[in-house]
Subunit: 372 residues, 2 copies
């Protein structure tokens, strides 16, 4: 079964990828945690309803006490400090101590909140990620970024706190709505564009079989995507430089999410539109040829359809300046250099962004009819 | 002017101690922060009313923009995640970015909350401590422990996040109520007991002049106390071992605070009673002679008076098991070995604790009459 190592000195950990991981989870945890500490699952009622039997059955045969389950309602609007307050109180009342371990069982929101919970409860306890969406498996569960939203913006509060292991069970994707599979694959495409030409070509060649959700093929895509992320995070844990390349497509992507109230588009869909705009800038600057830009945009679109949204270019540009990536007013921007390589530039002007956003919106109009 | 270095590799920082530091703060910050980032002060309305003129005057002549002031109401009951939520939103609305720097101007609560704010805003920004109480100067501003309380217990949520500098301006102590000075000095006595026989002897010899609040003498006491803490924290940042000795007196001290609803006693006063109980255990186990135990208890009492409180030994012992220092049910306990040395033991029984708490309560009754 594929294992990808995230190299972070004493905080290093493995990402395990494959089918059937839930069945062996207590065994694998037992090796990591030979003292059998108390376990606390953070999950949503929906995920738990689908998976609790498969999750708990092997624990009943293990040396672990039955894990305690804490629920976070599904949805971005519960990704707030007030949820943390409640989860912390629940942990304390249930007797969690410094040796206790949290298991994040869910998508990106659950992973971010449960990871942050582990980061701050008693100033930091250990946690494990068991991502249940493709997006969480290929992206958010790896890299130690945890946190919650403010009214003022997404992910503005949080910590870098690494899990002690990630278990990406491909079987969990079987209950994922197809639209979420497609959305998550946009982050795999991103991984290909920024650092893995082979993954890019694989996604290009196998559109149909990937989208059909074949377990072996998905395991391959997840492994390749996680390898890109693990390599980048291992070289730049705290986003001092290289790690910024993971934000390809995210400058305008985040602006699109903000402009549409984080409701209309899935994260991967917004990033896909943002990537198309970034490709416009790259082509105009000549860091990619027009042919390469078209090839990348086509791959993004072939894992669509990308739903249209209403926003004007001016508003999108204005929203980018609130982005967390800004440092003392300087904006970093990620441009592909051909396919599978990137560079970070700091001189993308508002005029360039505006023009690229306009071109992306024009493409959207030719591809789709905006909803009313 | 005395400077104590906290050695933590790339996170190392200096604690500056002396009078007149507010007047040179922008200069000193300018050396640490040559790019003159935006500054955000977190303070209480009371402290700000007393000190804003002295604080702001030198900034008006500096290259820094006028700092933005964020208020946290005074008192332990505002040391909660809900205050963090509000402070984070205020930072975001005021345009704080990853380069911004927080200045914690206040006592322990302000320092803990502002430090935690810096730890989690945008996954961590820089901050500076300007402690205004003796307790904060000798103890809580140094060491990077930040956090807030839960309903379930004190300091159960937080981060290790080190300031980039601490400025302990002795002048700030001039507006401190005498009872708070005495309470803060209990942490200096603790520093002497656990690791600095010279400091212990100095506090013993100079009770009157220390309590009179002479600036030079206080600067000496603060410097010696901070040196103990800095040395311990430098050797064990995250309390894996040695740092636990700073918890001398705190096992029962925290239980006393919990039993009295965190209202009746100041922190230093509760720790003083807790230390007396710990000395009973040390004397009975023979890690100190009776004469040494008496000398230490007498020093603690000479920096009193310690207010009496109502609680029975059984309740206090029960409350110790909720303490954060517990790991998988094992309780660490700090015992002095003579004066100026300590050891950590893990085998203090509930019966020993009960008996020591009873002896301490009996001493309280002979010294004072409990309030109604």
């Amino acid at each position: 079964m594929p294992t990808v190592r995230v190299q972070l000195g004493p905080a290093s950990y493995d990402v395990h990828i494959g089918p059937g991981l839930l069945g062996t989870l207590p065994q694998r945890l037992g090796k990591l945690l030979p003292k059998y500490p108390r376990l606390f699952i953070v999950t949503s009622p929906e995920i738990w309803a689908l998976w609790h039997k498969k999750f708990l059955a092997p624990f009943a045969k293990s040396k672990f006490y039955a894990p305690t389950v804490l629920f976070l309602p599904a949805g971005e609007r519960y990704k707030r400090l007030s949820s943390l307050d409640s989860l912390c109180e629940q942990l304390a009342h249930a007797g969690a101590d410094r040796d206790s371990v949290i298991i994040a069982l869910g998508g990106g929101v659950i992973g971010d909140v449960a990871g942050f919970l582990a980061a701050i409860y008693m100033r930091g306890i250990r946690y494990v990620q068991v991502p249940t969406t493709l997006l969480a498996q290929v992206d958010s569960s790896v890299g130690g970024k945890t946190g919650v939203n403010l009214a003022a913006g997404k992910n503005l509060v949080g910590s870098f706190h690494h899990p002690i292991a990630v278990f990406a069970d491909i079987d969990l994707l079987s209950t994922l709505p197809p639209v979420e599979l497609r959305s998550g694959l946009q982050e795999s495409i991103k991984a290909g564009i920024i650092r893995d030409a082979k993954l890019f070509a694989y996604l290009e060649k196998n559109v149909d079989t990937v989208l059909r959700g074949d377990s072996k093929i998905l395991a391959h895509v997840v492994t390749a995507s996680v390898s890109v992320k693990a390599d980048v995070v291992s070289r730049d844990e705290k986003e001092a430089g290289l790690r910024m390349i993971l934000n390809f497509g995210h400058t305008l992507g985040h602006a699109i999410e903000a402009a549409t109230g984080y409701k209309q588009l899935l994260h991967g869909q917004a990033i896909a539109w943002g990537s198309i705009a970034a490709l416009v800038i790259a082509a105009r600057r000549g860091t990619v040829t027009n042919a390469q830009a078209n090839r990348m945009a086509n791959l993004i679109l072939s894992y669509g359809p990308l739903p249209p949204f209403r926003a004007d270019a001016k508003k999108l540009v204005a929203l980018t300046s609130a982005d967390k990536k800004t440092r003392s007013g300087t904006r970093s921007f990620i441009l592909p250099v051909g396919i599978g390589k990137t560079k970070i530039v700091c001189d993308v002007t508002n005029a360039e962004l505006h023009s690229a956003a306009s071109a992306m919106l024009a493409m959207m109009r030719t591809l789709t009819k905006p909803s009313a």
